[in-house]
Amino acid sequence: MLHVWASGVDGLDRVLGGGLAAGRAYLIAGEPGTGKTTLGNQLVFNHAATGQTAVFASFLTETYDSMLTNMRGFTFLDSSLIGTRVKFYSLMSGFAEGLEVMLSTIRGIIRDSGATLLVIDGATVIQDSLPTSFELRRFTQHIQIYSALLGCTTILLTTHTRDELRSIGAHVDGIILLTNERIESLHSRVIEVLKVRGLLQISGAHEFSMSSTGITVHPRLESIAGQHLPPEAAAIGLGTGIPGLDAMLGGGLIPYSSTLLIGTPGAGKTLLGLSFLTEGGDRGERGLIAGFHESAQEIAATASRIGLDLRRHIDSGMVHVMWTSPTELSVDEWAWRLFAMIDIHRPQRVFIDSLSDIQRLISRPQRLSAYVAALVNELRARGTTIFIATEIDSYVDQELIMPIPAALATMDNGILVRQIELNARLNRLITVLKARQAATDPVIREFVITDQGIDVSRPFLASDGPLTGRAEQANDDEAGSAT
């Protein structure tokens, strides 16, 4: 039976299908600067921290003092483990005497140290220096069998590219590829698990980041879509804080539902979201705002301008604010941070402001629809009812163009708020585009913001194209039919 142990690297075990298997041989490949040595050291120190013995052996000329100096900024480096449960060896001397001596040296290292993890850095030099390319393959085959017989997981760090892995990949139990990608001005670190024997890895590209804690892998959000189901909704009627909107929605929101707030800039999407959270706080329901632009203080001030006492709920910890800089964002890293916040604070209501920032920053735009579906599914599975704002770029258009067309399809409800020009005056309007519950109000209504709150009680008295921003005055007969 396969014995799998945790790598201790956040997110890595998830993409590996559980962790690293005891007595198996892995290859971590990547060009220089992709993070192999950091990952190798992180695995060694994490393994040693669990009470096991781990060895870092290297074919490279870089001294351990030099390498450890470079690693000193990482919190995983526990110097008290060095020499006891973390051991360093140089393979340079055995290397000059040929493959047999080198293999004998490695066997000796594993047996003498009692290591259950061996990381070998710079194994590619075997290929560069020995007479035939067969030598590295033979070396790898031996390492794989040593790993199994000696019960020591072995990880070879090499500079192979994806194409070069074909010749050696068959002789290891797992292959992890690290790459640096540059998409326009954004730099993205990517990890792919190309192969794992005996475990179900999450294939495809996943972003990873490097910080003082070492490497953190952010599994591609879509890869977990559908794994978790939302709880059963008990009853209809979660209030938004705006009675008229609750009436338009047929009596409020279904618990654990998702609502997309679509609107032009300045139309009042954020205010709707803040009302939703304030109402929750007033009812004793915890909330979370995941935003990209305003601090907690700014959000509280914005809410207070329309008479919402959100500050009280923020100050009491009933509502948390997760602010992220919108300039350098890994959308997967952001999503996993959001899930972690939710797991800690357990909010019942979540407001994301806004999806447009994610749309601007996602490295591959074709991912967006699946990403949103996965995000919404995970949030619902965590027992939250969700408001997500998104912007319509143009104030006036020929038709109503959805900013992220597939996003609305994946949501339970869609609410449009927009500004239109009518009779030389800017008017706000609101309508329910879509709702899961049947009895919704089809009337387009005025969306009036005052210092006492939001009012949506009056029908919008215009016809012909208000949703596009091109309203024309309705005649009296048409206007009189709505109530």
């Binding site: 293999l103 066997r107 000796g108 047996r111 085959q141 069998i145 199994a148 017989l149 000696l150 019960g151």
Partner: protein, 122 residues
Amino acid sequence: MKTILIVEDETILREVLGELLIDCGYQVLTSSSGWQALDVLKTNNPDAILMDVMMPGMDGRDLYNEVRKLPSAGAVPIIMMSAIIRPSQLDPGIAAFVAKPFNLEDLVSAVERAVGPGETLA
């Protein structure tokens, strides 16, 4: 120093078994097939034979029967290895059985049961 004849058709596994038994203080002879092993036994008298059961051509059970017919090797301890065949499916006269995949402890323990410990190198 005690000598072990390793009969294993997989090259790398044969090499690694040899390396590890040498590390444990044994001398090693190797054969890649049953026929080659019988040739080796014409001129050598190992203290034990470590053989794979599943081999192309003459498999381990056939080789076992042939070895037992040899006057010079009729009583040599035989250790069999297999991932599929169970010990109950083998001749009860075998000295030990090692189930694949195995670790070094399983292997050394089986060899030691058959011929005693290897010599520790000074």
